[in-house]
Symmetry: C2
Subunit: 504 residues, 2 copies
């Protein structure tokens, strides 16, 4: 039965194989998989003898060494057994196996990689709202909150990254503190003390994956299914997704020209046992209103009386164009209710995914415990690079420069709206930020206007995209930060041209 | 009443202030906070007039400009109101407020930043086991699974990072695909096709924050509270934490010299409705056993019959020292039950936090949806840098080099154990990996031995640290990857010296 001579033996099995020259898998591995497939299909049964390597080489039209490599691989994996001089069998220890069902790719005989999961997928994640309109090449993107990355000194970043890897080396490339690089925690603490009136040290700082990472971590660490959380009725959807993902039930609270309506929150707190409230007091997202001083005090007082966790998302602290930046709620909170969330996404780049939490030390410790489960730790190299740039003052200098640039762009957009869209949009007065919130005349349908503008190359968001109730409102949010004054004028002119299609 | 002349006025309030020279907060901000604190304490009531800036400058012994800066800040934040020529009042719109309770830092009168949270913290996260023994400077660290970062070409990484920022620029620094940089997903798909017999494309690949990020994301996306998940009885604790954090109930399944006991798993599946099983088939963690071919088939068959999700953690695929690497379970799974998890932590560096999932496209889509909530996306710069190194073959070359180095170190450790600890430890035969699993003679207490060795500067892990039941067993895991042969010999000699303290 052993075919030493190359003569075809009667009970020898024929294994079809055509090498796929385009495949990225080497031929020997393709051969091995072909054999495995035949075993999985049940065509090659445990104990069945394979043709000799010479016969297989002839059958398959490949070099005998390629066959031997394939058989070595199969033997190493336990699919076949070889005995010197005696040949090669399908392992007798393999169980019998039914042929695969449908859903497989790569032809009828090869199981390939499944196109569909074999396990039940369960429910998808709750979606807060329609996501932002997608950007596309060549279009002006006024939705979202991007900074102007064209003005970011990239070489400065590269040099800092390189120095971090060179000087800290194994330390930043290895396992480390889930709270983040100590050097960055220290630098953030000093920065918060100097610029945000938060008298904290490194122990009260945790570095996170952007503000989203902070919000998600806070939600997981402190919310339990069924707990009630208040959010702004016009607000930041991605935060709501994290809160909901942790099982919270969300309650929208109205927002007006002083920010969150704290009286309405108080009324809600009397009806429901609130666990937490998520707020954007500095520049309310998306309306850009600064929470008034009296509401700040009321909110802190409410938090104290109800034992609330207040998540303060201060995503664009640096960009206050009139007067000084208003200090965070957290800076006036003596009772440990406010957990403060900041980010480097707006002053450096969103792609770095670095943000931070400032909170009492026991809160940071709890977050660190969860962080080990989430992704073990952050990227210590990027964190160390940012620490260096903060220590040097380079980031602060960049932030100041961008504050000035964005202030000019805000004026440019206001002027362009006044010149070309007077009576159509009225921008609300705001003290800072990277976008304008503007009311649109009832003569126009904002949704149709937004769609027509996007078609014409100017993408902006309407109020509906931020509304907890998902209902349209006659407001638009116009992000000016990533566009220079000339581009902003071009945007406004395009928007004006699209008005006809939006007339009610 | 208005003190233009600098004469002290009778009803003027005295506000105590001593500048904290050591503070990182500028004096004007300290002043402003002092006033806010007095408002929060209720000492300065709404409508109360403040002393003139000259008087305050005299009271506080600071320059008048500093006082004006503080008052500007207070006015900008709405704490005070100013009227030109008439002075400055505490805003009349502020509500009355009770004084803060205890728990505050920074002295009795200043609220400062709270040391303790004001909200209920709830339960801490479940801890699978004692964490690894901590590393410490100067000690040899044989616990954990670190690669030797001394041998990583860091300049290669820096150059790739710099090129990614320079060439892809705004694209990698901005918001992007939550599945990861397309370029890396393509490179990983090709690499998996070539080296892991996974015939997949970029659509079936998602980049994650290391394997921990993948395990946590999978747990959140596919497990619901109360569902049953099987895990290896000696296994990887951090994975269990993620599974438990998603609400799963875990069931340990025995591991023997062929890896996971699939018959025991089958018995469990008859008793409980299993949702998923978490396995390390390539080099079982921590015992380093390769799951036998017959058990692989049985496991796939079981998964098919019970509709299981099989999470295959192939954390050290490259480091197989004898024969070829055994191909993943996923490569033989035609029915979409296996979700494959890989990582760059072992072949590049853990600190980069880059891993990946290979799964049918609908699974990747669901993970991407969750990813938006978790941290929005990965670090596209690091991902692009790794893509380039994979495309160039530089990472594969580094992996081959390290495979050779680790093979030599494995031999060195085996030899050293044979020379110095014969009769005390017996290393199990394994085909690869970055650690040896060894049985310890009953004459010695492993826990005491490990403690004494750590004291003497050699840190290694005992079986207890991997045991679901947390009970001690006479086994140790000796990681050799980050130590050169000379260091390994030094470790073994130190371990030998510590034996006396471990004698039963």
């Amino acid at each position: 039965m052993i075919d030493q001579s190359g003569v075809r033996v009667r009970d020898e099995i024929e294994i079809a194989f055509v090498a796929d020259e385009a495949a990225t898998i080497p031929v020997f591995a393709q051969l091995a998989r072909t054999v495995v497939n035949e075993i999985l299909r049940g065509r090659l049964a445990p104990g069945q003898r394979l043709p000799s390597s010479r016969r297989l080489a002839a059958q398959w039209a490949v070099h005998r060494n390629t066959v031997l490599s394939a058989l070595d691989e199969l033997a190493a994996e336990g699919w076949v057994e070889t005995r010197a001089g005696a040949g090669c069998w399908v392992s007798t220890t393999l169980p019998e196996r039914p042929p695969p069902r449908g859903g497989a790719r790569g032809g009828a005989s090869a199981p390939g990689f499944a196109a569909e999961p074999g396990f039940a997928m369960g429910e998808p994640l709750w979606q807060a709202l329609a996501t932002m309109p997608p950007s596309r090449p060549g279009a002006y993107f006024m939705a979202g909150g991007q900074p102007d990355l064209r003005l970011l000194p990239r070489e400065m970043l590269s040099r800092a990254w390189r120095r971090a890897v060179r000087d800290a080396g194994s330390k930043v490339l290895s396992y480390g503190d889930p709270r983040g690089a100590l050097r960055l925690r220290r630098a953030v603490a000093s920065w918060c003390a100097a610029r945000r009136d938060l008298a904290v040290g490194a122990r009260e700082v945790m570095i996170t994956r952007g503000s989203q990472g902070a919000l998600d971590l806070l939600s997981r660490a402190f919310l339990r299914p069924g707990e009630h959380v208040a959010v702004e009725a016009l607000g930041y959807g991605p935060a709501w997704v994290s809160l909901r993902a942790a099982g919270a039930t969300l309650w929208p609270v109205a927002v007006d020209d002083q920010g969150l309506d704290v009286e309405a929150l108080e009324a809600l707190a009397r009806k429901r046992t609130l666990r937490a409230v998520y707020v954007t007091p500095h520049h309310q997202y998306p309306t850009m209103v600064t929470l008034s001083a009296s509401r700040r005090l009321r909110l802190l007082d409410l938090a104290r009386r109800h034992g609330l966790l207040v998540i303060e998302d201060d995503y664009d602290h640096e960009f206050h164009h009139e007067g000084r930046a208003v200090m965070p709620l957290a800076s006036a909170d003596a009772h440990g209710h406010v957990v403060y969330v900041g980010t480097f996404s707006k002053i450096v780049a969103p792609g770095l995914r670095v943000g931070f939490v400032v909170a009492p030390e026991p809160v940071i410790a709890r977050l660190a415990q969860w962080r080990r489960a989430v992704d073990r730790q952050g990227d210590l190299t990027v964190e160390t690079a940012l620490a260096e740039l903060l220590e040097e003052g380079a980031l602060q200098a960049h932030a100041r420069r961008m504050q000035k640039v964005y202030g000019q762009r805000r004026t440019a957009l206001r002027d362009a709206l006044g010149a070309h869209l007077a009576g159509v949009v009225e921008a609300h007065p705001t003290a800072g930020g990277m976008a304008l919130w503007a009311e649109v005349s009832p003569k126009y349908d904002v949704e149709r206007w937004s769609a027509a503008s996007a078609e014409a190359g100017v993408i902006f968001a309407t109020a509906r995209r931020f509304a907890f109730d998902q209902r349209p409102r006659p407001f638009v949010r116009l992000g000016f930060a990533p566009l220079d004054p000339g581009e902003l004028v071009a945007c406004v002119k395009t928007m004006k041209r699209c008005l006809n299609e939006a007339r009610v």
